[in-house]
Amino acid sequence: MKKLSARRRHPLAALVVLLLALACTGGLYAVFAPADKAQADETAQSLTIEEGKKLYTVGCASCHGTGGQGTSDGPSLVGVGAAAVDFQVATGRMPAATSQGAQVPRKKNIYSQAEIDQLAAYIASLGAGPAVPTEEQYGPEGADAAKGGELFRNNCAQCHNFTGKGGALTHGKYAPSLEGVTPKHIYEAMLTGPQNMPSFPDSTLSEQNKKDIIAYLDAVNGEDTESPGGLSLGGLGPVSEGLFAWVFGLGALIAVAVWVAARTAKAKKS
């Protein structure tokens, strides 16, 4: 190992890597040449599944069972699909801490995307389920944000608030804020219904519907979303507005009143 890392820093390393890469590309082309595509795919696929299974055994099996059949600590993963795995692992919800509160929170993801793909492939092999959406499905092209707004208010706002700031559910559970959640993960959440969120399959909320919702969220809760009137106060509505009016509105006015009514400093007696 040490030798390898030492050589990696060699000036010629870049060249070697380049040559290797070229060779690999050529080789891969040969392997994946159309004639043998199906078979090659299968091989690659089974390799990925193998890798995924290894990862699964280390990180997931203790709760979800060795074959994904589920235990008392975790539900069965048969048929949840690759989309569910991608969402749960990439948003850091899985693997969950052994003792969590009412709900598994979003946290830092510890897997690389490649590893997540392997895990997803393994779980998908256990039973058919929704696949990971492609950029084409959740990208902004051809989306109608206004229609998305209507859909959002009908399907999502009751839990996630008008602009996706999140909200409370029963007994300490909550619908998380959608701020900073990638379009892909939002799509997957709608598709698979993680934890207590109901699912919105394509049969009831079409692909176009999902695309519209994502476009709407980007418009009202994105990084560059404009709040024309000024500070949005968390987008929580009258509670934060009332607090602001008391503290900064009335507070400032009372401070001014204290100044208006105060006695002017007297000249010091000499």
């Binding site: 859909l151 009908n154 399907n155 009751q158 839990c159 909200g167 559910l169 029963t170 559970k173 619908a175 219904g193 934890q195 207590n196 969120m197 109901p198 699912s199 919105f200 399959p201 049969s203 009831t204 909320l205 079409s206 519907n209 560059d224 979303t225 404009e226 709040s227 024309p228 009137g229 000024g230 500070l231 949005s232 100044w259 208006v260 105060a262 006695r263 002017t264 400093a265 007297k266 000249a267 007696k269």
Partner: protein
């Protein structure tokens, strides 16, 4: 009970030894009112330079106000209404709103600050005392008013001519009724309108998202879908009023998990159709937790167990969500098997 019978000695002695009488420190009573303290001059009262400084400050404030007003007009004319600007730490906001608000605020605040500073530093700050006079009239005035009133009342003969008095009160009491009657046409009578919705036998369940009729296979376990009755379109007049009653929430639960027998009977293969309108005060309730099968109202937190006939398990709602009986028609689409068998939405007196 009258309060006049409170013995006088229970009330404390009047505190106000008439002011001015105890100007000098009282040896007998160290707690006596020493009277108004003597006036002490401010810096501005004795130092003309300080007064000049105050004058300049006031004038400066008024000048800043003028500039701010000019700034307001300039912003109004030059900044486009849709221009956004990033201002730390507020964020991306409308440039025009910020510019107008700040200049207007500054213009007004400086006028006020100037006036107050002027009053505080340059106007006389001698404290003055105004005498108060009792609000109550003197006994003589009171007696005079009473006499006048009695005289007037007597001259009106109202007390003697009872017929006039009674009919007049009758007339005055009755005529406001015209005003009440006029309010009748504010709205129609309720009739049985709150008991019926657009749902009826054979009406298809139309997906609110796609505007397509739903099939059982569209709904998977754990999903949540909203439906409206076939034929109700967003552009229709009266859409709002109809959807306020007809809005439907569809969930699918493993039939084994459905605890309520009638609920299971009225469902189709585990697809349950409940009114989306809360039975508490009518919020659209749809915070559905697919693992617990609980639906929470976002307005007042009434919680319903959709796997158990939508019974109330927490919160202020008084009864379960009405369930719509559904089935499948010949073409395989979900259809209603009738209207709700009880009124949807908030309870009312005639609901029964």
């Amino acid at each position: 009970m009258s309060s006049q019978d409170i013995p006088e000695e229970n009330l404390p002695a009047a505190q106000d030894t008439s002011h001015g009488a105890v100007k000098l420190a009282d040896e007998q009573n160290p707690f006596a009112d020493p009277g108004l303290p003597p006036h002490e001059p401010r810096v501005q009262d004795i130092d003309e330079r300080a007064a000049k400084r105050s004058e300049r400050t006031v004038a400066l404030l008024f000048t800043v106000s003028m500039l701010a007003t000019i700034g307001f007009i300039a912003s109004y004319v030059t900044i486009p209404v849709d221009k956004a600007v990033y201002i730390w730490p507020i964020g991306h906001i409308s440039a025009l709103n910020f510019a107008l608000g700040m200049t207007l605020g500054l213009a007004l605040f400086c006028i006020g600050a100037g006036a107050v500073h002027w009053a505080r530093t340059l106007m006389s700050d001698h404290e003055l005392a105004d005498e108060r006079h009792p609000i109550e009239a003197s006994p003589e005035v009171r007696a005079k008013v009473m006499d006048d009133f009695r005289q007037g009342a007597k001259e009106s003969v109202l007390g003697r001519r009872k017929l006039i008095r009674n009919t007049m009160f009758g007339a005055l009491a009755l005529f406001p009724l015209s005003g009440v009657v006029l309010l009748r046409d504010l709205g129609p009578l309720p009739g049985t309108k709150l008991r019926h919705t657009l749902w009826s036998k054979g009406k298809l369940l139309v997906n609110m998202n796609t505007n397509e009729p739903l099939r059982p296979s569209d709904l998977i376990v754990g999903s949540l879908t909203f439906a409206k009755p076939e034929g109700l379109e967003e552009h229709d007049h009266g859409f709002q009023t109809e959807i306020a009653k007809a809005a439907l929430m569809l969930v699918r639960i493993q039939p084994d998990d459905i605890k309520d027998k009638r609920s299971l009977e009225w469902s189709h293969e585990g697809i349950l159709a409940y009114s989306k309108i809360c039975t508490h005060v009518g919020c659209p309730i749809s915070l559905y937790e697919q693992q617990t099968h609980h639906a929470l109202c976002p307005c007042h937190q009434s919680t319903f167990d959709l796997s158990d006939g939508a019974k109330v398990i927490f919160g202020p709602a008084g009864h379960a969500l009405p369930q719509l009986r559904i089935g499948v028609n010949d073409e395989g689409y979900l259809e209603a098997l009738g209207d709700f068998d009880e009124p949807v939405g908030p309870a009312f007196w005639e609901r029964g």
